[in-house]
């Protein structure tokens, strides 16, 4: 789905509580959120439970989404990731939740997601397929270095050194 189409749908949700628009957003994003949780080793039941929480947040906080600042996909990923952290944090006694802290920290830096996109495109151009795969396995799917080594059939030390080398390569574009 195009970002402009999503922006229209989100507007309908925030202004008119349009359920039909929400069902379209749901069909587009909910299976991705579910897949993200399953890849992160949550059970079917836990994944659906958390997906429900994320979708409820999108429904209630649709007016907080600012299309000038970020893409919908980034905004929804951020919510999904924060719900996962809160899920693992059993004894959260603090008044301020993770979502508020991260919301603040990422805006702390004044550049928006569109500015950052240029940097990311540069980085993506520079990394080869293997490096992208390694970053994805380690940080997006949160596989341990040991599991990555087993899956790719390479020594553990090689996994560690390749991740370091990839991070160094990325670093050049972030200064």
């Amino acid at each position: 789905m195009e970002n402009s189409q999503i922006i229209d749908l989100i507007k309908k949700i925030s202004e008119n509580r349009d359920e039909l628009a929400f069902s379209e957003i749901f069909d587009f994003i909910a299976p991705k959120i579910n897949a993200y949780y399953l890849k992160n080793n949550l059970s079917n039941e836990q994944a659906e439970e958390l997906t429900q929480e994320v979708m409820s947040t999108i429904w209630t906080k649709a007016e907080l989404f600012n299309p000038d600042k970020s893409k919908f996909i980034t905004w929804s990923f951020t919510i999904a990731r924060n719900k996962k952290i809160d899920f693992y944090r059993k004894n959260n006694k603090n008044d301020v939740n993770e979502e508020d802290i991260r919301g603040f920290l990422y805006q702390h830096d004044k550049s928006d997601d569109y500015e950052i996109e240029y940097t990311i495109n540069k980085i993506t151009e520079e990394l080869d397929q293997n490096q992208k795969k390694l970053i994805k396995m380690s940080f997006f799917e949160q596989k341990s270095h040991k599991n990555i080594a087993a899956e790719l059939e390479i020594p553990l030390g090689t996994v560690k050194s390749r991740i370091r080398a990839t991070l160094n390569k990325m670093q050049k574009h972030i200064q």
Binding site: W59, F77, K84, I101, D113
Partner: protein, 209 residues
């Protein structure tokens, strides 16, 4: 060694949400004080979001869109408190109940549900820590003031990541002293004149953890 790759790995792990409570607190405070680190976190956040956008969806077995409307809670609270990740957990630095370890050196352990231990360290101006290395990694973030060691000077918002290979002898700044946030993955190993006594002390202390 205290390399950029190690710092990036920490920031990237933070953005992906796979840090334990101690390192999560440490890194959020690092981002709070250091705008370069915060920018990196935003970049990493977007790289992960790109992976997310390319993810092939997996159909939901039970959940329907209407379930999410039914369960939405409009009273979802939004905090109005200022967001300082550390103050959120321990309150203001001025009101910490410090425990004196030796002359000029105080600490305060922050209770976290994690294998890593995290504490605040306060060093009076010119205080030194005896030469030591680490069994695991040590992470230090300067919250106030500055300190120096054999590898350089560290000011507010700077971090140092030390592993087994490093032996160092940190000394706080002569004018202001320093307050740091520190994580140790394993106990520290001391060297020098009082080394064996301090190692024994750490060993005995481990029984009371």
């Amino acid at each position: 060694m205290n390399t950029t790759a190690q710092k990036n790995e920490l920031i990237f792990s933070y953005a992906s949400g796979n840090l334990g409570e101690a390192k999560n607190l440490f890194t959020s405070m690092y981002l709070y004080l250091n705008s370069v680190a915060a920018k990196k976190a935003s970049v990493f956040d977007n790289i992960l979001a790109k992976d997310f956008s390319e993810t092939k969806g997996i159909g939901l077995k039970k959940l329907k869109f209407s379930d999410c409307i039914k369960n939405s809670n409009s009273a979802d609270k939004k905090s109005t408190k200022p967001i300082n990740p550390l103050a959120n957990v321990v309150g203001e630095l001025g009101s910490i109940n410090w425990k004196s370890i030796y002359k000029g050196f105080k600490e305060f352990s922050i209770p976290v549900n994690d294998n890593d231990s995290v504490k605040l360290i306060k060093m009076d101006p010119g205080t030194s820590v005896p030469l030591h290395s680490h069994n695991g990694k040590e992470y230090i973030l300067v919250l106030e003031g500055s300190f120096c060691d054999e590898y350089g000077e560290y000011n507010m918002g700077d971090i140092q990541i030390n592993d087994q290979k490093i032996k160092h002898n940190p000394t706080s700044c002569k004018n202001h002293g320093c307050i740091c946030l520190s994580i140790t993955e394993n106990d520290v190993v001391f060297f020098g004149k009082f080394g064996s006594i301090l190692n024994l002390f750490t060993f005995v202390k481990s029984f009371f953890k």
